[in-house]
Subunit: 223 residues, 2 copies
């Protein structure tokens, strides 16, 4: 049961559910289908299969969430994924996005042993290049959830994890202002339609609409 072999595909599903999950809310299958570039029908099939295997809890019209075992498996994969990201960025000079792509390929061919060796080689990094936590081998590390920037209250700190709605994002502008992927920040002021945020490159005011599309991870110990 511990040594159950998951197909690459199953791993991808579990990982994606872990990634998309927002707190304890189940992930809508439509979201999964989109992320995995697969038809909704396939996702439905797969989720029911994973439920039969005790890895996923699937409630029709609600969505999918992970069982403790599913969580454990997702962590194993995510650990490998993020360790490779660190290696690719820090050692091989990859840009983050390319590293992410490549890590998707490598994670499935990585044994637990290899992950541990890599972890040691990289000097036990605690986060990936975006500042997202790398699960420990024991699987104890809880994944921290990401929120839209708008959910962060004044005085809280955090860092940027992802841009949600690519088309709307002035990437270059944000990069210049120090609010790019991985950037730490602190919310200084919020108003009804904008936020003032402190970044490594100074202060930047962000429209609320835009802030909605910026996913961030709040700093440990807040909320």
């Amino acid at each position: 049961m511990n040594t159950k072999i998951l197909t690459e595909s199953s791993q991808m599903y579990l990982l994606e559910i872990a990634r998309l999950r927002d707190g304890d809310a189940p992930v809508p299958l439509s979201r999964l289908a989109e992320e995995l570039s697969v038809s909704p029908v396939s996702v439905n099939e797969m989720c029911r299969k994973l439920q039969k295997q005790g890895l996923v809890i699937y409630r029709p019209y609600k969505g999918a969430s992970l069982t403790p075992e599913g969580e454990r498996q997702a962590h194993r994969v995510l650990r490998k994924h993020r360790l490779w990201e660190v290696f690719l960025v820090k050692e091989l000079g990859y840009a983050y996005e390319q590293a992410h792509e490549a890590a998707c390929q490598l994670e499935h061919g990585t044994s637990d042993l290899l992950a541990d060796r890599l972890d040691e080689y990289l000097d036990h990094p605690s986060t990936n290049p975006l500042g997202q936590v790398i699960p420990r081998p024991d699987g104890e590390t809880p994944l921290r959830k990401t929120l839209p920037l708008t959910e962060i209250s004044v005085g809280q700190e955090g860092h940027v994890v992802q841009y949600e709605d690519d088309s709307m994002i002035p990437r270059d502008f944000l990069r210049e202002r120090g609010l790019y992927l991985g950037s730490p920040f602190k919310v200084l002021i919020t108003t009804s339609d904008s936020m003032l945020v402190e970044t490594p490159k100074g202060q930047v005011s962000v429209a609320r609409d835009l802030a909605t599309a910026i996913s961030v991870e709040p700093e440990k110990g807040d909320e």
Copy 2:
């Protein structure tokens, strides 16, 4: 045509044909089936499919060999495989055999770009930990063939690549005497039933029967 996507399975077949090939002789399908741990029927099916794709030349009762394009593809995979071997052994402290196993998993999830970056990171190694040549990205490097130790004539040098008949090999003895995987050596004397070989650890006399089971790669520029 250049960007043709090979399945993991196809890659394995091509790689194995390249590995098992002895000079220009086609590889018997039974041998392939054995190495790949797959039924002869499956190998037959696959070889005919690869032939249809122009990657393999398959002659019933003779065996399979690579077309120039198949050769090119095999080189690409082999390059990745051996680069990973170097990384795993040199950087992560793997033993060779474990590195070989792990490299089998990693090679398929490795893009050409990643291979090049890794190559650079490792400072362009020319051989894997066993001294086998790492093909260059341009695919120009010919694979050197391996021979049984008995085929090496007096004065020639080479290095050990593989033990063929595991059950017959006194591994510990050979390791002690400096004739283990990767060891460089020079043949000093051959008689009708034994050979005297110089190794990093001194000289060792090897019975002809035993020498047959030791695969070696002769040094560049000989023969």
